[in-house]
Assembly symmetry: C2
Homo-oligomer: 445 residues x 2
């Protein structure tokens, strides 16, 4: 079969962009053999061409408009990131009817609805496999493989930086600060790690994934977010004793375990106790994994490198190939699961969440303390599942760990406020949520 | 958007076929909302219509030709299985230019090359997501998400029956016979379990997956196959002591860990010692999982229900939707990774395999035995990595377990023959292979 040349423009040539250029150059023969396509990188647009190393024969310049307008350019790859210049350039390409491939989760989480609508209007398309889970083909799975499934839950580890830090804290017993410092030293965390450790990056990815899984528009502001930066190694240790591993999870699930279309969706990002038997507990270091629970498929999981130059570039090139083959546009045009064509999600108010909880209080080492804590929990109808208390005291205070049965978030928070005000307690109490794997029986066999 | 009606014929209505009918009926609204498609099951063709229960309004009959010829039928779903009638009917549909969706791994492993060529000739297509890994979208991952990766290895647990049996043997310490009997009682194993426990089913799936991963035609006969039916619980126990779990693995890897296009491919199915830290070690019961190692993506893994009515039906309906959207045909037409367009695989002769090994011999409980066994191994340049010998003897024979460094299969087999002939040994020695996860560093980061 004759080879077909596809002209492309790369907007941005940082870590991922140079990875894309590298795959297109190094795997030119493999890609041509498998797909009949040859990609011609006609423009690489950056702010400072002098900073692009190893550009070889690439045409590196600063004129984004010319690069997008070039009639020989069939696809525009946006790897600038953020919601500023990237947004304008993506709009420009779409308005010209040119399909866009992007890894920009911030942009899609913030302006997905408008951009998808613009793409539809101009008979163009947006592909964004690289925006979530790095090289893991999770977008493809949700839009194709699982398309016939009513999805009851999506639970993922989608931020490699946080997972590297938590893995170190768990395995080595380090503090958050120690683990962060090492992650920065090794290049897993940025100098300003806020986007990652605050949970915001995870929430932006969850907004994209949940929108697809539940055919409903979810934006970052719909999601309750807690980061890992206040996590105490003490709680990681206690969790381990109880048989759990603490992971920063992105969670989207139908309330009450109901798979019915009408039930509201709980959307949240927070450090979570995951049972050590859950596959997610074994996802270490910079790896990501996403569990999806479908009514027909049951539990499935997608695991791989969630970040890094080449894994993310692998997803970008996959999108480029599907765009060039024409399959991306055909699916984008017909599938009604993108944010422009779906209603706003029916979100469960966070205080209505039903969850199991892990509480840790520092209590004075004297008789009757446990009874008083238990009395407060009872008052708010929070039922205790297990208690862990060791003999050793610290500054005359002893940590008491309590896990609960299912309780309501609102009631639990009111109980904690009251516990924190008890004279026998040294506030604040630590409070983490526990996730139990949906029962196997919930999948039709 | 207006709904589009797609007429389909179901050939076969057993476990999976009735699952497909169930999803299409129960998820009619969800599918229409997400895809704009409504599927009209115009014919259900079976040998004995009286046996089809709960057919409702379905038109169940025995006339396959009429069902395929019906001009209102746009897609033919083949769920008969085997290489007899199924092959003829698939050919008939393809020759009429009608795309086929099938779960038939035997048919594709045996006649894939001819069928793909026939489909191309008549501008039709074959989709087969359900043929491997049940509902796990692994075919999609190999043909789309990982398409830009040079793949160095694919390692999978792709037979749920064997994994159920091995899980029971490992967790409960049961014998193969006990575990098989329970699997049969619970419906996980058939009355005649040969296809599953011999490893043949796994090999057929490997043929399909390896063909896609390595752009080369692989057939079942290219694959070295050992089943689980001769596995001794003793070896499962010793493996556990050494930190390994025994799984029936389908393995396709470039020899010498080389990712270069030219190196031969090692293809094999056998019980394998998997390190307990490997994600595959945690895949229990009827779950399947496939690890793929790509040059850019690194290690990724796809996990889920590898069999069963609804998971498999989920994959069939996904294929149906992609066929109706037109994306399946567009990809099928252009991608040159299907068996009709690829050269025969360059297969590594099995005796040239380089692997680590687990050996267990029953030796007379007397001095000098270990030295004699070690001498034979040394003679064939098999280097010992670890030795495990307990004090307790059994019938005056004591089991000695040896793990080796990398050795050549041919040399190892010659060593075993010589060891079996030693007067101090009670033959036969047990021999299993050990798989080590390709090093993280082999993935470009």
């Amino acid at each position: 079969m004759a080879e077909r040349t596809i002209g492309i423009t790369l907007l941005g040539c940082g870590v991922v962009g140079s990875g894309v250029a590298r795959i297109l150059a190094e795997q030119r023969d493999l890609i041509a053999r498998r797909t009949g396509l040859v990609f011609d990188v006609r423009h690489v647009v950056v702010r400072d061409p002098a900073k692009v190393r190893g550009a070889g024969k690439l045409h590196v310049h600063t004129d984004a408009n010319a690069a997008i307008n070039d009639p020989q350019v069939h696809v525009v790859v946006e790897l600038i990131g953020g919601t500023g210049a990237a947004a304008d350039l993506v709009r420009k390409a779409l308005a010209l009817g040119k399909p866009v491939v992007t890894a920009n989760k911030s942009l899609l989480a913030a302006q997905g609805r408008e951009l998808f609508a613009l793409a539809k209007k101009h008979n163009s398309a947006i592909s964004f496999e690289a925006s979530c889970g790095g090289g893991i083909p999770i977008i493809q799975a949700l839009t194709h493989g699982l398309i016939a499934n009513e999805i009851s839950a999506l639970v993922g580890i989608v931020n490699g930086t946080c997972n590297v830090i938590l893995t170190r804290m768990t395995v080595n017993g380090w503090t958050y600060k120690e683990a962060l410092a090492e992650a920065q030293r090794l290049g897993y965390a940025e100098a300003d790690p806020t986007m990652d450790v605050s949970g915001r990056d995870t929430a932006q990815k969850l907004a994209i994934l949940a929108s697809l899984a539940f055919d409903a528009t979810v934006s970052e502001s719909d999601i309750h977010i807690e980061g890992i930066d206040t996590l105490d190694p003490l709680d990681i240790r206690f969790a381990k004793e109880l048989g759990y591993v603490i992971k920063l999870l992105a969670i989207a699930e139908r309330a009450q375990g109901s798979a019915a279309g009408g039930a509201p969706i709980s959307l949240r990002v927070h450090p979570t106790l995951v049972h050590k038997q859950d596959v997610l507990a074994d996802v270490s270091g910079s790896f990501n994994a996403i569990s999806v629970y479908g009514h027909a498929l049951g539990h499935c999981l997608f695991y791989g490198r969630g970040a890094g130059q080449m894994p993310t570039a692998s997803a970008v090139v996959s999108d480029l190939i599907q765009t060039a083959l024409g399959t991306a546009a055909l699916a984008f045009k017909q599938l009604q699961i993108f944010a422009d064509g779906t209603p706003p999600a029916n979100i469960l108010p966070f205080e209505d969440l039903q969850s199991r909880y892990y509480l840790r209080v520092l209590a004075k080492d004297q008789p009757g303390v446990m009874a008083r804590v238990a009395a407060v929990l009872g008052k708010y109808e929070v039922s205790i599942s297990a208690i862990l208390q060791h003999e050793s005291a610290e500054n005359n205070h002893v940590p008491i760990v309590i896990t609960t049965h299912l309780a309501k978030e609102g009631a639990l928070q009111r109980a904690i406020r009251e516990i924190n005000s008890l004279p026998v307690i040294q506030p604040p109490a630590a409070c983490l949520r526990i996730i139990d794997q949906p029962k196997e029986s919930s999948a039709i066999q």
